[in-house]
Every structure is written in C-alpha cells, then in structure tokens.
C-alpha cells in the first residue's frame, strides 16, 4: 500500500469505528430501561456488538500506526471524531432508536458486504466476521420496525415521524471522506455513492411495504431523495450532542488525570 492509501484507509477506518462506537454508546443508554424485559436484553446485546465492532476497527487502525483503542476513544475531542452526525443524536423515544438502528444496520450490512471483498485482507476478514452478527441485527430490526409501523395508530405515527426525521441524518452515513477515491481505485473500499444507492434500494421498498412514507421517490431504476442530507461528521463537524457524550466519557479521567489504568 502507498502512504496515501494508508492515510486514506486510516481515515475511513476512523469514520467506521467512530460510527460504531457512538451508536453503541447511544444504544447502551437503554440498558435496564427498555420497553419490556426481553427486548431490553436483546437491544443490550446489539449495543455490545456495535462496541465490539468499534474495537475491531480501532484495533486495525492501531495496527496501521494510530494510538491504541482506549486512547483513541477517550482522549480525542469532538472535532477529531469522524462519526456521522446521525449516530450522535439522542436516543429519543423507542421509535427513534429502533428506526435509527434499522437504517444504520441496513447501511452497515451493505458496507460490510462490500468490504468483505476488499483488497486489504485484514479488513476483509474483519468485515466477514462482523457480517455474521449483523444478520441478527437485521432480523431483529426488520421484525420490530414492521410490527411497530403496522401496530397501532400511535405506533404508526411515532414510526413515521421517526423515519421523516431520521432519514436526512441517515444519508450522512454516506458522506464522502478524504481519500475515498484512492481506496475505491485500489479495490480496498466501495464508493460511498454506490453504497448509498444500494442502501436506498434495500430500505425504501421495505419501508413502503410497512406503510411508511419515505422521503424519496422512484425515478426509473433509482430512488431520488427528497431531503437534504445532514453532513459534516466525516469532516469533524458535530452537534452539541456529541459533546454531551464525550463529557460523560471524560468525567472519570479528567477527575484523576494521573490515573493510568481503570
């Protein structure tokens, strides 16, 4: 790999790792407070999975020369984070969290599916292993979203409003990052635009089948989006919600800066 390719790869890995970490953090806010005991447990497992994926990406990044995972997670300030703004939004009601999860895991499934043929072997191996866990996420989320969208009048309204609000944020998952074209040319990573198209093809018909109105319309073979994507995360521009997460994460370390181990 050339130096430029390595730099681009590190940038991409940071985007993916931060997405997984931040969404895992948000999901874990439900642990012990879910809508029913059994689902509380299932959702907590998925939170652990996402944090595990984050650790996988951070570790690979570390092997490419970055700091160790804990240093990366607990010492950067918000502008160094590369997660999409989507993942840092508050957990909202369960409709919001479930819809975010559905949209996010749909994107992750497409992304990992593409990375499973990456020319960079360690990334390929990681993607294959992660995909295995994503199967459960996909089943879980699709089963839930369908039932909630078709359940009661209240649940339909909540799911519709979650979708309308979340959709523009979700498009931010496909925001270009620096060096993307180098990785695409080398067969290391898929083009964000390509992923976005596949994601729309996967999600939009399903959401319509569930009776929800998607902020997009069909145009020949493609889906054309009727909402402006919320971008900035891949460039380090974030909302105050990321600051809230980081403040919580820094409480202990900043109270005792001399502490090496926790």
């Amino acid at each position: 790999m050339t130096d430029q390719q390595t730099t681009a790869l590190s940038t991409m890995l940071l985007c993916l790792a931060d997405d997984e970490y931040i969404i895992g953090h948000r999901m874990s806010e439900w642990t012990g407070q879910g809508p029913i005991i059994e689902e509380d447990i299932a959702f907590s497992s998925m939170a652990q999975d996402e944090l595990g994926h984050a650790l996988g990406f951070y570790t690979l990044l570390h092997e490419l020369g970055a700091d160790d995972p804990d240093t990366l997670v607990f010492t950067r300030d918000a502008s160094a984070y590369r997660n999409s703004i989507f993942t840092e939004q508050p957990r909202g009601d369960y409709a919001w969290s479930m819809m975010r999860q559905f949209l996010y895991d749909g994107a992750e499934t497409e992304r990992l599916g593409a990375l499973a043929t990456s020319a960079f072997e360690p990334l390929r191996d990681l993607a294959v292993r992660m995909l295995q866990e994503e199967r459960y996420h996909w089943m879980h989320n699709a089963t839930f979203v369908r039932r909630l969208a078709l359940g009661t009048e209240e649940s339909r309204l909540r799911m519709q409003s979650a979708l309308t609000e979340a959709f523009p944020f979700a498009l931010g998952l496909f925001e270009p990052y620096d060096g993307e074209e180098l990785l695409v040319a080398a067969g290391i990573a898929p083009a964000e635009d390509h992923l976005r198209r596949r994601w729309l093809d996967r999600m939009c018909p399903l959401l319509e089948e569930y009776g929800l109105k998607v902020p997009a319309h069909r145009d020949g073979d493609n889906w054309r989006v009727d909402a402006a994507p919320v971008l900035g995360g891949r460039q380090g521009r974030h909302t105050e919600h990321l600051l809230g997460i980081l403040d919580a994460m820094h409480v202990l370390r900043s109270a005792d800066p001399d502490a090496v181990n926790w």
């Binding site: 407070q33 029913i36 059994e38 299932a42 497992s45 089963t143 039932r147």
Partner: protein, 118 residues
C-alpha cells in the same frame, strides 16, 4: 475526595419522579409466554431452558436467542407456546414407577456364565 453527587443524564430521574405518584393504567400487557428449547450441538436433543414473553413466534425466537444463549453453545432453537404444553399430573409420578421386577428388560437382568466347551 471528590463527590460527584452523581446524576446520570440518561436515567431522566426528574421525569421519572414527576410521574411516580400518578395512577397506573388498569391494563398492561407483558405478552404471552413461550417455552424455549435449545439444541446445543447437532445430533443432540432440544432442551428446555426457560421461557420468554413475546407477542408471536417470530419475535419469541428472536428474543429467546439473546435471553438464553448469550454464552452457551447452540445450533438450533425451538419455541412452543406455553399453553400448548400438555403434561401428566405432576403429583402422579407413581405412574412411572414399576412395582414388579422388570429387570428382564435390561442388561442387568441377564447374568451370563462364561461359555463352556462341550
């Protein structure tokens, strides 16, 4: 020694306190119950490990996975609506006891002498 007087943001304690005194609605649903059976390895039996509350079979399978096999091996899951389990009366274990010699059904019923020539 620093005291945080710790208020976790995600537990929304003030909102919780605000609704604490209000009466509970009469009706709540925790969904029906499903018995969960885990097959630990191919070729092995499905063993009952507990039950989950779920609205329907598809959800029961999804929820059973994370409720019961977070650590232990599993290759296949069954769920059965708890109401569909039929059982003998549990006091009636005498039904399964034999009061007369049935050793002829078992290997222990046969003490063979070593074969002798002739």
């Amino acid at each position: 020694m620093k005291r945080w007087n710790f208020t976790p943001y995600h537990q929304q304690i003030d909102e919780g306190l605000a609704i604490l005194g209000t009466p509970l609605p009469e009706h709540d649903t925790q969904w029906p119950e499903w018995e969960v059976f885990v097959q630990a390895k191919r070729g092995g039996p499905h063993v009952n490990v507990g039950a989950v509350h779920a609205p329907d079979p598809e959800m029961a399978l999804l929820l059973a996975k994370e409720n019961f096999i977070r650590r232990e091996p599993c290759v296949n899951l069954w769920i059965v609506n708890t109401e569909d389990i039929h059982a003998t009366a549990s006091e009636d274990d005498a039904l399964f006891q034999y009061t007369f010699d049935r050793t002829y059904r078992n290997t222990t019923g046969f003490k063979l002498d070593k074969p002798t020539a002739e």
